[in-house]
């Protein structure tokens, strides 16, 4: 018997039980949609976070808290000897946030994070050049430069093309204060001017798009100037007294944290990718899928058995005219396979439509979601295809067995 003949007979049999076929298809489509969409979403999220962890310096930085300013030299000396540590800097060298600056001469009251960098520690450059050894007063900016506070509503029209600023200058203003119990009063304003020499891909490194890299020495000078020039009057101001250890790879973070803790210091990773929520989404989605699939299995078995019972006489007739058990089993199998494949095709169509809607209606405009580059995952689609086809095959075996254990006389009598 040819495959074409099985398909023809299976199609004619399915057309006799449209309602149960619809229910089976509907349940498979729902379960596979949950599986494909949720796993594709969480895989995209995980992949984006993993990429970020690999490329973002913050995810391979360990913060070691000192009790006072005087502790810092000793901590730095101790941590330097820890394996996988490639750079140890004081908090004063690591970062500085600026809210008053000039880009190509235009004043901004926005927000820039200045982060320390040197020849060995800087993001991947996609245009311009890297910071050379001991080079000062240069900076690397994001490809999509958005010099505003990330908590503000993201406005695309305010994004500056980082490459257009290569060779241009960014002037940073920073202040010293009189620190008084009731208020802080501005004392002096200083400034430093940096030349933009390179651009990095902020999406790829999952960085904020106001993160700019300048040399550790420049950051240190800014912080040192502020600290030295400020005056503290009748109160206690704690200036930065932490140490930052930068690790060669995010894979070695856990071990490096433990090694530093073993030296007796309070060490914690500066940034931790929180994938707990993703894992929870994964587990819930898989549970929902499994529950719906169980319903699918039960529904398919019941509807197949019912369909077989309803046409007992016909199966008896097929046996009477010479059909073997194998032929009848294959007809039932083909019926269920058609349900599986049809459901899978419908699932894919819906999945792509829903993904498109999600991309244009939800993801578009949300920078974090855009950076995740959410797409239908092909491996998940392949798994869904296997589930969509294997379950009908198994249920066909169970239901066909019931019919095939009966004699032709029994089947004809039931008919």
């Amino acid at each position: 018997m040819r495959v074409k003949d099985y398909i023809f007979l299976a199609k004619s049999n399915l057309s006799r039980r449209k309602k149960s076929v619809f229910i089976s298809c509907f349940l498979i489509v729902v379960s596979m949609l949950v599986l494909i969409l949720s796993l594709s979403f969480t895989i995209s999220m995980k992949s984006a976070m993993n990429k970020a962890i690999l490329k973002n310096i913050s995810y391979r930085t360990i913060v070691i808290n000192g009790k006072s300013k005087e502790d810092i030299p000793r901590i730095m000396e101790d941590v330097k000897s820890v394996s996988n540590v490639i750079k140890v800097v004081s908090q004063k060298e690591y970062s500085y946030g600026s809210s008053n600056f000039y880009i190509s001469g235009k004043e901004y009251n926005g927000s820039i994070n200045l982060l320390g960098a040197d020849k060995d520690i800087q993001p991947n450059i996609i245009a311009g050049r890297e910071i050379e050894k001991n080079e000062k007063l240069v900076c690397i900016i994001p490809k999509e430069f958005y010099p505003y506070n990330s908590t503000e509503k993201y406005q695309k029209d305010k994004v500056i093309d980082g490459e257009s600023l290569i060779g241009k200058e960014i002037k940073i203003n920073y202040n010293s204060y009189y620190y008084k119990p009731a208020e802080s009063i501005l004392k002096n304003t200083f400034s430093k001017t940096f030349t933009v020499i390179g651009v990095y891909d902020n999406e790829e490194s999952f960085s904020n798009n106001n993160d700019c890299y300048i040399s550790f020495d420049d950051i240190y000078e800014i912080q040192e100037t502020i600290e030295n020039d400020s005056e503290i009057i009748d109160q206690i101001v704690v200036f930065p007294n932490s140490v930052y250890a930068i690790i060669d790879s995010s894979d070695n973070m856990k071990k490096a944290v433990e090694d530093i803790q073993n030296l007796g210091y309070n060490a914690t990773p500066r940034s931790v990718a929180n994938i707990d929520l993703i894992n929870v989404i994964n587990v819930v989605a898989i549970l929902i899928t499994v529950v719906i699939l169980l319903i699918v299995v039960v529904n398919l078995v019941i509807s197949s058995i019912k369909s077989i019972n309803d046409r007992s006489y016909e199966i008896g007739m097929l046996k009477a005219i010479g059909y073997k058990d194998k032929n009848i089993q294959n007809i039932v199998f083909t019926e269920n396979l058609i349900i599986g494949v049809l459901s899978y095709i419908i699932t894919l169509i819906f999945a792509f439509i829903l993904m498109l809607i999600a991309k244009y209606k939800i993801v578009s405009g949300n920078r974090e979601l855009e950076m995740m580059n959410i797409n239908i995952n092909l491996i998940v689609c392949l798994i869904a295809f296997l589930i969509s086809t294997i379950i009908p095959i198994l249920t066909a075996k169970v239901s066909a067995r019931k019919a095939l254990t009966k004699t032709i006389v029994q089947l004809n009598k039931e008919g």
Binding site: L9, K324, V409
Partner: protein
């Protein structure tokens, strides 16, 4: 090889609610091509059991059944299915046509499993058979669009499509009016004259005039 179905000392017993029922009691019968055999008897006399035994749809409790000289008790289900497909055509009282297949498709159905008929010849052969039964204008109709007589003629075409030697008909006119009954009996008679062995079980007296041999079944016993 001479084609025949031979039943020797055929006994069939059933156990129904702990009661042993003898449906066939020492039945002796030989069916050869070119003849129309009629088995008559009242309802429950065992005549349907006989036709199921002859067609390998059921097994004997005791005795031997030979088809074309081969003893059948040790055959596997697949081997029996092979014999049914090649050598035996069944005609049932209720026609048992697939309601979602056209007349033509119902006739093609047994040929799907017959590798000796090339797939491109199947349609041609089914059309030829339907034409010979005067159904050429009805072949694209579904069973529900056809009369009882037309449905039974389609069922007979289906029984003949793999060119079997033996046609076993169980009350073939049970659901038909007098006119269609006559048509069906005439077809069956014609087939026996063309060399088929026709076995009809019925309680309808009208069939007697078409029979070459008449048997009576009563309480499981067969007599001429």
């Amino acid at each position: 090889m001479n084609k025949s179905i031979v039943l020797k000392n055929g006994i069939k017993e059933f156990n129904l609610k702990n009661e042993n029922i003898i449906a066939m009691d020492n039945v002796e019968l030989e069916i050869v091509p070119g003849k129309m055999y009629v088995v008559m008897g009242h309802s429950g006399s065992g005549k349907s059991t006989l036709i199921q035994i002859l067609g390998l749809l059921d097994t004997l409790t005791e005795g031997k059944l030979y088809i074309n000289g081969e003893e059948t008790s040790n055959l596997t289900e697949d081997e029996k299915a092979e014999i049914r497909m090649k050598e035996i055509g069944f005609v049932f009282q209720s026609f048992y046509l697939n309601p979602k297949l056209t007349a033509l498709e119902n006739v093609i159905l047994p040929m799907y499993i017959n590798n000796e008929i090339p797939s491109q010849k199947r349609k041609e052969r089914a059309i030829q058979l339907l034409k010979s039964f005067g159904l050429e204008s009805r072949m694209n109709h579904y069973p529900k669009e056809l009369s009882g007589g037309e449905q039974q003629r389609i069922a007979i075409s289906r029984a003949l499509v793999n060119n079997p030697t033996f046609i076993l008909a169980d009350e073939p006119t049970g659901n038909l009016d007098a006119k269609n009954e006559k048509i069906v009996y005439e077809y069956l008679k014609k087939l026996s004259q063309e060399g088929k062995a026709i076995v009809v079980v019925s309680h309808n007296e009208n069939i007697k005039e078409y029979a070459d041999k008449i048997y009576y079944m009563e309480d499981g016993k067969l007599r001429e």
